[in-house]
Symmetry: C2
Subunit: 640 residues, 2 copies
Amino acid sequence: MKDENTVTSQEPSGLGRRRFMNSAALAGLTLGVAACAEKKSDGTPAAAGSAPAAAGHAGGNPSHLKPGELDSYYGLWSGGHTGDVRVLGLPSGREILRIPCFNPDALVGWGITNESKKVMGTKADGSLRYTVADTHHVHASYKDGNYDGRYAWVNDKINSRIARIRLDYFVCDKITELPNVQGFHGIFPDKADPVDPKINYTTRVFCGGEFAIPLPNTGTEDSSKYRSLFSCVDAETMDVRWQVLIDGNCDLVATSYDGKLAATNQYNTEMGAKYEDMMSAERDACLFFNVARIEAAVKAGKFKTYGDSKVPVVDGTRESNKDPKTALTAYVSVPKNPHGVNASPDAKYFICAGKLSPTATVIELAKVLEYFDGKLEAPDKAIVAEVELGLGPLHTAFDGRGNAYTTLFLDSQVVKWNVDAAIKFHGGDKSAKYVVDRLDVQYQPGHLNASQSETRAADGKYLAVGCKFSKDRFLPVGPLHPENEQMIDISGDKMVLMADHPVRGEPHDFIIFKRDLVKPKQVYNLEDFPLAVKDPKASGVERNGKKVTVRLTSQAPAFSMREFKLKKGDEVTLILTNLDKVEDLTHGFAIPKYNVNFIVNPLETASVTFVADKPGVFWCYCTHFCHALHLEMRTRMIVE
Amino acid sequence: MKDENTVTSQEPSGLGRRRFMNSAALAGLTLGVAACAEKKSDGTPAAAGSAPAAAGHAGGNPSHLKPGELDSYYGLWSGGHTGDVRVLGLPSGREILRIPCFNPDALVGWGITNESKKVMGTKADGSLRYTVADTHHVHASYKDGNYDGRYAWVNDKINSRIARIRLDYFVCDKITELPNVQGFHGIFPDKADPVDPKINYTTRVFCGGEFAIPLPNTGTEDSSKYRSLFSCVDAETMDVRWQVLIDGNCDLVATSYDGKLAATNQYNTEMGAKYEDMMSAERDACLFFNVARIEAAVKAGKFKTYGDSKVPVVDGTRESNKDPKTALTAYVSVPKNPHGVNASPDAKYFICAGKLSPTATVIELAKVLEYFDGKLEAPDKAIVAEVELGLGPLHTAFDGRGNAYTTLFLDSQVVKWNVDAAIKFHGGDKSAKYVVDRLDVQYQPGHLNASQSETRAADGKYLAVGCKFSKDRFLPVGPLHPENEQMIDISGDKMVLMADHPVRGEPHDFIIFKRDLVKPKQVYNLEDFPLAVKDPKASGVERNGKKVTVRLTSQAPAFSMREFKLKKGDEVTLILTNLDKVEDLTHGFAIPKYNVNFIVNPLETASVTFVADKPGVFWCYCTHFCHALHLEMRTRMIVE
């Protein structure tokens, strides 16, 4: 395991730099804010000794597929500010689909069709409630500890929304806005029911609220009255089941494989309103939730509600949960402003990375359960390792062979470390070399994830790393740089960098899983659409005073009506069914000057509603290439 | 050149299939609409003889860059329905940037900031005029027959708009909506002034209007009164200089290197309103414009205007341009529904592909000028070749070595052919083998372009092909398939397929040029923003009745004010200047529930205006990862 070139953090030469930083050192870090973005850290023993990038590149780089060769893994990527979920093929890193969720999408007609507006949510005047989003984390539904291909979920931090993706059609079908919270950040589905062993699949999604606000949000200035909540959303109905009032804030979320525990790391136990206050304490926390007890408390009516919200809120504060045997929550302390909490695939541990501490903390879940049973004297006794990894540790992935991979934001590295060795080292065996390898990445990595890492079937083949800065890694394109997602081969002892991929700003998190875990459907079912125009002969214009319904079908290269007439002022609902049932034969429908464009996939029906307020001739045309006569595929809308 | 495995189209074995089709055959094509999408054409001698895909893949596939290796070419890609321009690195095919133009973009804040709304255009109530677009063609400004790195332009077909991109900052700075036209499709900058030889660079952009409409658009049903126009936009002011009333429609556009000629292919000289009518004639046309004469006519006041538009419209119809010596236009006939007109890099020819005819037509520009001089008896005498290539020819690119590459939509092939040999063959030398190579592509290719193909510096290295259908080439992702853009190495005699890239629907066209032709700037100039908050001390809230101006700066990891207070009902303009001047150090700014999110790049200033209509505490936070304390970077907006 030990390599001459690898200076591990526990060795003296690394100590000065990697020493657990105190507040004074942090003040320096804060002042030197630009440095981490301006240039990579100076060479240090650890950095200099990292595995040579792309050492194994010559020969069979597995990310270099031949034309026509299919990827072996799917990746589901948070779309960042575009508010979508991106579907990648891996190891190639190719983006195959973007699934619009929170924001309009002018290709699909998301936010334009009535069907998508219903999912997205509208104001009283029918316009979209929101058109911006900030998605961070994508996670998928489980069964028996592996993905079951039913759903994925993604958060919107700006407006505290959660969206669900159906993984049969790869579309968003539900969006829920969480009450009482701001800055909803972490998200994770449960993997089993805490009580009923037959429910060995996801039925809940947990959501961490990051920013503390007044409850209800009256606008009071006194920030000591502000609170954050942890929320549980029903995986099927997408209703908010319950919330927990907590001390401190929520950041990321993890869940245990047995369904009993959920947790969130807390970077601001100080509940500070300014960043200096948020980093005053040496230790923050990983906050555990006893799911069964919380649901029992809700059932027993031990909850409050706030403002207009009907969602039951139970009390998870420290003060109200001092008795472990009845506690809904347990606060395990972890060093300074932790970022990231990740469940190991052996189902034993949650690991928190320190961010402003160079450490990772390993918490044993069996011991947390012991605490809740009154058999462990303090929550912190569940900590089985707390080891130094490097500067700015953020997130951790796993290979299923006992190794963890943690991003080091400030060091611009991924460090591979052995969890068992770390536990031994923490237990006093100073000969235990837990750092296995280090690899420089370009630059400032945030999230990372390995193939199947968040399941019991972690397979340790590929690791994707989301580097926040790309700097000089791609051709210059003006002031806005892409981020750099790097693909790393982790199948051997040494990590090998395979490829750089530029990505549009802020994808944050992603998951990677084997391609046989989903069974996508490529053609819709006509019967699934209540408005479907099932026969071209059903096409026509139906008038009911000013309310007009236009029914159309598409079959390449023609729409079923070559023209239709409206009167100025008509309130028009246009329904289009694509009767082409050939896979990949999608049609588009645009109306010039009327701000309408959407697509209908094979056997899909979509509708738009607009007021015919502009007289004239408007050539509605197919905007999605369908046929040699695609350009000629039009229908004429005449507004008299 | 001749290869045993290549059966060229002029050989007897290929004739049956590739014979110039008559209307009867076309009716069959139309009925068999789904076939072209459903499956690739059956094997034919020509298809069977195509170069083996990826024959040269083993070993040095140039599209497979090592991590950190930079691309050697830029690609500017039409973004399709997302209304943006995508910047790619080639030969890797990686997307480095998306430049929002016509549609909102929630990352940049395009359509959210006041600065972007001004470019996009708003209604009287301040909301965006349009939020959908259908971009097709991107072309860049020229000097001395090569790109000069100043501008690129892209069209929006739905709303007849043209957007300009500044290639120093890679941002859209102007959008113009064309009057009197619908379905603005083709676009091409001129390459020189037709009169002043000192102006050896782009000063005009030509725009082809595709759908004929009433002038003015009264909504009359009588389609015989409908007309299409060809438009000229000033490259600097982006004003519409003039338009030309024509017979038939405009599709794509090409310009000559001497600035004297522009042309558009016409697929609907019949001026039919239904697709069957549009394909009734055996020959349509390539319509040439005499730029100098048109501008002289405008200067001489020989024009009309329509409706509210002040743009001068000259008469380019056949009837009014019978005398070649005074004609503004010349209609050169080309076979059935041509799609694509492309200028060869030797400056001699425009080539039209037949789409519903299996032919390409080579038109010699010197002869067109002879026609305008009264020295050629008919425009059609400028045709120097009309040769069969295969089924569904659409677009043509060039390698600078005398070869053309044409996409065959129905055959799912790219055919490489020699222009001089085609001219010889057309001239009677039946031994001239003009087809050099064929390559199967996957599937149904539309546009293609080669590196530097649209310049005098065509270098024949790489060819990108935009395949409209991907079918089985990528992992399945539900009903909406990506398109498949394929990269082909054309440096040798045989084309070699290098890589498949999935792309989101409908990019259509693109250009590829050497990376040293642009000089991007990575940091803005503070002085370029009139509203810039140049010092954190200038931050504050300025109240003028209900009008409130909030001035803020950002320097990682903090905004200059940790909080600011507003009153319910305030009309707020918030101005944010990013004082971080480090390359790649971008900040974001989101206001929960207020539908605000935008970024400020290094030394950029942006502003948003909103009504503070919701009371409460709102944590405005940095949405673009900037620093280890990025999560902690917030300011508190209190609405009382």
